[in-house]
Amino acid sequence: MSNINLRKKLTSVPEEDFIGRTHELEKLLRHGKGKTKSHGLLLLSAPAIGSSELLRQTFDHLFFKQTETIPLYFSLESSDKTIRQAASRFLQTFLQQVVAFRRKDEKILDASPDIDELAQLSAASDGFWIDRLIASCRSENVANDERLFIKNCLSAPLYAAAHGVEIFVMIDNLHVAEHLAGASDLIEEIKEIYSRADDVNFVLAGRRRFLLNSVQTGNTQLYETEILQLDPLDFADAGILAENLAEKYKVKISDQTRDLISRKFLGNPSFIRFLFQAAKEKGCNLENFQYVEQIYADEIFEGKIGGFYDAVFDEITPNKESQKHIISLLYDVLTGEKRKSPIDAWQARLGQNDTDFYRTMRLLNNFEIIRLTSNLVEVMDENETLTDYISKRFALEIQIKPRVLVIVEALKKFLKRAPNTMAKFYRLNSAIDLRELLGIFNCQQIPPDLLDYEIFKDRHKGVEDIEILEFLDKSEEKMMLPQIVYSAPTVEFYPPINQFTDAQHSAVALGFETANYTDENEIIWLSAEIEAKLEATKEIAEFWCDRLEMVALVCNFQKYKIWLIAPEGFSPEAIEVLKVRNALGSSRKQVELLKKFLNAEDAIGEKRNPNEYEMVVPMGEDTELIAAHTVEEIARRHEFEPKAINQIKTALVEACINATEHSLSPDRKIYQKFLVEEDKIIITISNRGVRISDKNPLEISPNDERRGWGLKLLKTLMDEVKFEQVDDGTRISMTKFLKVNEDNTAKKIAA
């Protein structure tokens, strides 16, 4: 028997490295315990995003927590070859996991007991139904009734549930079913069985493009299931993962390379992990763009990332000649002017029969190599890693260029691209995200000051935001926003506009002028965020009105409104142009105020924290005073009380003295970060050198009752003090809440 603690069994990633999935994990755990609306849940994800890991983490949580719910995690494998084999393995896995759970013995999960051994190991309370289940499956097997055998095996959790056992079924990698031979349709069988599973909670997981289509078509449709879409990690979480992996593998990174890695892989945790593993294996750091791109190039050419795509293409077609044809077609689409090609052209060039061709296209689509829309094939070119892989194979296998030359060319391309990747990201990050903003328009009444730059300039130029908002709150002059029912980037409606703008800077929104859904009320808003250093000129306004009118013409939009946003608004001549075109022109400031007015700041984009300050001071020469005066200014700006400010200053001084006196720091620097949140300030003081945990206690609190008061003061003056674990030096995190609990402080002082 094992001790039951929360630890890993099926998972391959330690819990602390499992970043950015808290919400999804909680949702699955709630679902497993029957605390969600539906019995069924579809977990949809793109390839290599970590859905299997999420399910395995869920299994481990439930297994080691030992609640009433017994978790079952089963992953379809292409090595199963046949549906019958998969079903048989399902039954064996189910019994193995039930017995291991009941006996609280994780070692059973590592062994390969056969069904009879599992029956013998089963708990007395389960023996009856397990014996009956095995007997039933055996009889179908002996009778050679394959379909019934498969049904019986897959229904095992329902059988257990009928005997009062609470089971949470997680079936992973359902897309593999397509490769399994057999007379039955495995997906249909699973749907048929679990559509009547009123007392079994289950998750079906797999590639999103396969799974959603599979469960919502066919004889049985699981419309009642909830859907959990697993997205790639967001930028911040991908950064945390990169930092954790850097620490774990002892690979040095910088803030810049961390961001590049997060952005480059679009939050794909598997690829980020592969990069760090490769850096560790090669003994390289990832401190600058050059190192990152070198390791990345190695990964594309002979590493795990290249290997990942090799396996994908092998699965699509093991025939290397067919793969070459596919690579060639993909490359042509990528480099072609239209970036799309008709599916008929693909079939002609691939030369496959209908069955093979549609299977190939389906798999290319499921693996998210291509996007199929209206019989046109597009490559998923937003995925740089994929396009680099395609370019590599095209150069090596079709152009037959020397390998060294291809590697050098690729590396040059990657290096040149890295700063552009970041520049593109910075621009994206600073965009208003018109699509999201328009999406919250819902017939709200707003003062015209928020959209009409002429009015805004006249009334509010040079006025503080708070005063403007007060004025707007009281304003009786109103206009009504439309109710937007759908919004999308303009490039999706009219791709040629891509030459002038991108998906984040221009959007089309379809809706109604009022909440009456009539033809007369239909309205399209065509919006664009445009660049201009000063007020946008007449020429700029004309140019953008022309472009958006072209979109309206091509898309046959009958009634539309153009809305342009320029950073500094529009010149008087430009405003005249806008009036003639019946267009609206706003400044960026107006849009910020509009978001505030609509209380939509949290709904649009990520909440950014502008209240973060950093400084580095040298040790000694009373430099702690510079830090103290800085934090005083920051705290005052955020309306901390004078008493709290004094306490923060003194605590900071003590932390600096502590760093100076005890660290033996090699760089003699104190790194300070001040993060002000709504209700608190968090001060982080770090230094290199000897870790405080490695110091002799007498060195910190000498045996002289008149010294060593620094840490005592820190803990008394601040509301929370944490000594964070770092490999080198010390990092102290101190928090002061904006509304100080006087009683608490008084108690601390008294103590």
Binding site: L625, K643, N646, T650, V653, W709, K712, L713
Partner: protein, 102 residues
């Protein structure tokens, strides 16, 4: 700001600087001990210019308290800010010295 001194008979006022740390604390300690040795029996340390006091500075003030106590001199800490008084309270100085609030 540097420390300054005001004398008048047996009474001496030592003005602490804006930052009471190790160095400025030791200066005060040296001055105070000197005046006590010279026969001063009423010693005042004035904190009107003092903005920040650190724990090392406070520990040195304890040395001044001891020195005054040894010769039965009276020691006053004057013009002390409320925050500094709280620090003195936390570290147990207030039992041994007369405090005058700023």
């Amino acid at each position: 700001m540097n420390m300054s001194v005001q004398t008048g008979g047996e009474s001496v006022t030592v003005f602490a600087s804006d930052y009471l740390n190790k160095l400025s604390g030791e200066k005060i300690e040296r001055e105070c001990k000197q005046y006590l040795n010279d026969g001063c029996r009423t010693l005042e340390v004035n904190f009107k210019n003092t903005e920040i006091v650190n724990s090392i500075g406070i520990s040195i003030l304890l040395g001044v308290i001891d020195a005054a106590s040894d010769v039965d001199a009276s020691l006053i800490f004057s013009d002390v800010s409320q925050h500094t008084i709280e620090l003195f309270e936390m570290l147990g100085l207030t039992n041994h010295v007369i405090l005058k609030l700023r």
